[in-house]
Symmetry: C4
Subunit: 230 residues, 4 copies
C-alpha cells in the first residue's frame, strides 16, 4: 500500500479510535490517541480539545519527534510529550492511547498493579504498574521518566490519579488493549470485593496474550467496537 | 409444522438470540449461539465474527456432528467444538449460548460456583460450576472434556476467565437461561458484598425452576427481550 | 370530575406507570401495576404479559374483589391475588406496583429490611421487611398471608427472591414509592459496603416522609419520570 | 460585553447546566442551578419544577438577595434560600449547583467527608464535609447556617441524606465541580471497597486544583458535557 493511502488509513484509525474510546466510556472530556505515520519520525495525534471534536483528518495534528507540530490547524495536547518520548525510544510501538478509564484509576489510587485474570486482559502481556508522579506529562523531563518507567517491553502504565497510557504496535492494538485493560481492572476489582482472584500465571499470560494478539482476534474486537460506536 | 418452516423458525430464533445477548451486554465482540436443526445431526451457529454481523439466515453456518461446515458462506467459530461435543452426547439439548457475561466471569476468576438465590436463577435447575481449563474450546479433546464436565443433566458451566456455556432444550431456553444466569450471579455477588445470601434449597430450585420453565414464562421473557433489543 | 373521566385518568396513569417502571429498570419482562377504579370494588391491572405491551386502556384488565375479570380481552396476571387481597383489607390503598427491582432483591436474599437513609426513602414511612415465603402470590391463601404481613399501615414488602409489592393511596404514589424504595436500597447497600449508614430516626422518617408525600413533590417526580420514559 | 448580552449568556449557561446535570445523572426530578446576574444583587435560578422543563430564559426565575422573585412567571424553588444566603456572604461566588448526586449521598449517609484522590477532584480545592441537618434548606435561618458551615473559602457541602450544594466563581465552574465531585466520591468509594486510597496531599490539591481551574480545562469539560447532553 502506498504511503499516501497508508497515511490516510492511519488517520482514519485514529479518528475511529477516538470515537470508540468515548463510546466505551474510556475517555470523556480528556484523553488523546496517537499513531505513528509511515513517514520517518512523525506521528499524528488528536488535538488539544475533547476527542469528540475529532471527525476528519483535518482535526488531527502531525508532530515530529522533537515534539513540534508540523501540520494541522489545531494545537496539540499539553501532554503530547507522553507520546513523543515513548515513540523516541520504542521503535516497536506504533500507537498510544492516553485514557481516563475509571477502574484503572481506582487501582492507581490504591497504588496497586492491574494483573491479568482473563484472556482479554492477557493481551497486555504482563501486569500494569502505577507511575507514581501525579503531575501531567507536560514536559520532556517527565515524559522521559514515564517512557523509562514503562521500559523496553512494557505495554501500559497507570498514571497516579489520572488514567492510563496504553501502547500497541499500531493504534488498533493500543485501543483494544485500553478497552480490555479497563475490563481486566473491573474483573479484578469485583473479584476482590468478595474473595481472592486467581491470577493468570506468567505462562498463561504469554500463551493467551500471544494467541489473542493475532490480527484476527484484535481486528474482530476493533470492527465490533467501531460499529457500535457509530 | 413442516421441516422447512421449522428450520426457518430456528434460524430466526438464533438471529434474535444474537441481538438479545448483545443488547443485554451478555456478549460484546465475542461469543456464539447455536441451535439444533430439524434434520438429523445438524445444527446452525453464528459465524466466526462478532454476533452483530448476524442479520439473516445467510449469515449463519450449518455444521454436522463431525464439526464440519455443510452450508453457509462464512466460517464457523474457532470454538464450534464447544457446541459439537455437547450436541453429540446430549440429545435433550437443542440450543447453546456461549457468552462472556461479566459477573459470571467474576465467579470463574474466584473459582466459585453460581448458585440460585432467586426464582429466575432457579431455571438453571442446579448450581453452575467452573470448568478450570483456561484454554479456548478449540479442539475435539477439550470439547469432550467440557461436555463430560457438564454431565448428562447439567445446564451450564463457567469457563475459567472467559465466560459461560449455557444449554437449553432449544435456543430460546438457552438464551433466557444465559440472561438469568448473569442476573443470578449479580444478585449473589451483591449480597455477598455485605452479608450472607440465603440460597434456594434443592427443593425450591426444583419447584421454582420447573414452574418457570413452562413455555409461558420463558416465552414471555423472550418476547420482552426480543422487543427491547430492536 | 365525573366518574368516566376519572376512570380514564386512572387507566392512563396505570399505562404511564408501566412505562416508567420499565424505563427505570424497576421492571423488565415481569411485574404488574394496578389501581382502584372509581366504581366500588373494581380495580384495573396490567395484563398477563410483559408491561411493555401496555399502550392503551384496551390492554388493561378490570378485576373485581373476588379476583374475577369483568372487562378486558387479555388475561389478568397469575399474581392478581397479590392485588385483590390487599385492596380487600386496605380501603386507604388505591394503587399497587409489583416490581422486580434489583437491589431490593439483594435485601430479600439477605433476609434484611430496607430502612430509610434519605428523604425520598422516607416516603415509605417505615422500614420494609421480607415476606419469607418464596412462592408466587398466585392464590387467595398466600395473597391473604401477604396482606396480613404488610398489615393495616404497611406501604411495601420485599418478596423473598423475587422483587417487591409497593402500595400507595393511588398508583402515582405507589409508583414513585417503588422507584424511591429501590434508590433507598441502593444507598443503604453502598454505604454498608464501606461503613455504617446513619439511618433516619422514626421522627425523621415521619416528618420527611409526610412532607414529601404532599402532592407537589410526588407529582413533580411523577411528571419527570413520565417525561423521561417517553 | 454589554450587560444585556452578558445577562443572556449567563441565562443560557444555566439552561445548559440543567441539561448537563440531568444527562450525567447528577440530578433527576429534583435539584436546582443558579447564577449571579451582572446587575447588582440579583441571581437567576431554575424554577420549582424538574430541571427538565428548563428550555429557555422564560423558564427561569430572577431573585434578589432578600430571596424575593423579581422576574419570571414560574415559582422559585422551596430551597432558594440555599442560594440566597450563600450569594449574600460570598461575593466571590457566581454560580451554585444543588444536586442529588448518588455517591456523594452515600458519603452523607456515612457521615464522612469526600476528599480528593485524583486531579479532577482537586478542583474542589479541599475536602467536602457533611452538613448534618437533614431538613430541606427552606428558610433563611437554615440557609444562613449552611452558608456559615461552608465558610468563606468552602466550595461545596454534602447535605445529609439529600445531595450536595456546589459553588463556583460562575455557573460553569459550579457545574463542572458538581460533576467531578461525584466522580471523586465514586473513586474514593470504589478504592475503599478493596483497600486504602492514597489521598492527595494539601499541596497536591492546591497545585492540581489551581492548574485545572484555568479556564481552558474547565471550559473544555463544559463544552464536552454540553455537547453530549444534547
Amino acid at each position: 500500500m502506498g504511503t499516501e493511502s497508508k497515511r490516510a488509513e492511519v488517520m482514519q484509525n485514529v479518528i475511529d479510535a477516538s470515537r470508540m474510546l468515548i463510546a466505551k466510556g474510556i475517555c470523556e472530556a480528556f484523553g488523546h490517541v496517537s499513531a505513528r505515520l509511515p513517514e520517518a519520525d512523525l506521528f499524528v495525534i488528536t488535538p488539544k480539545a475533547s476527542m469528540d471534536v475529532v471527525e476528519k483528518p483535518d482535526d488531527l495534528v502531525v508532530v515530529n519527534l522533537d515534539g513540534k507540530r508540523v501540520e494541522g490547524k489545531r494545537e496539540q495536547p499539553l501532554e503530547t510529550w507522553l507520546h513523543t518520548c515513548i515513540y523516541r525510544v520504542r521503535p516497536d510501538i506504533g500507537g498510544i492511547a492516553r485514557t481516563h478509564s475509571f477502574t484503572t484509576s481506582v487501582f492507581s489510587i490504591l497504588g496497586e498493579d492491574v494483573k491479568p485474570v482473563h484472556d482479554f486482559g492477557a493481551i497486555l502481556m504482563r501486569k500494569v504498574a502505577v507511575f507514581q508522579d501525579s503531575h501531567l506529562i507536560e514536559n520532556e523531563e517527565i515524559g522521559e521518566r514515564l517512557a523509562d518507567f514503562i521500559g523496553p517491553e512494557g505495554t501500559a502504565a497507570l498514571l497516579r490519579g489520572n488514567g492510563t497510557a496504553v501502547l500497541g504496535k499500531d493504534v488498533i492494538e493500543a485501543t483494544i488493549r485500553a478497552i480490555y485493560l479497563e475490563e481486566s481492572a473491573i474483573l479484578q476489582f469485583r473479584a476482590r470485593q468478595i474473595g481472592k482472584p486467581i491470577y493468570f500465571s506468567a505462562t498463561e499470560v504469554r500463551e493467551r496474550g500471544t494467541q489473542l494478539l493475532e490480527s484476527a482476534h484484535i481486528l474482530r474486537a476493533w470492527e465490533h467496537y467501531k460499529k457500535s460506536s457509530r
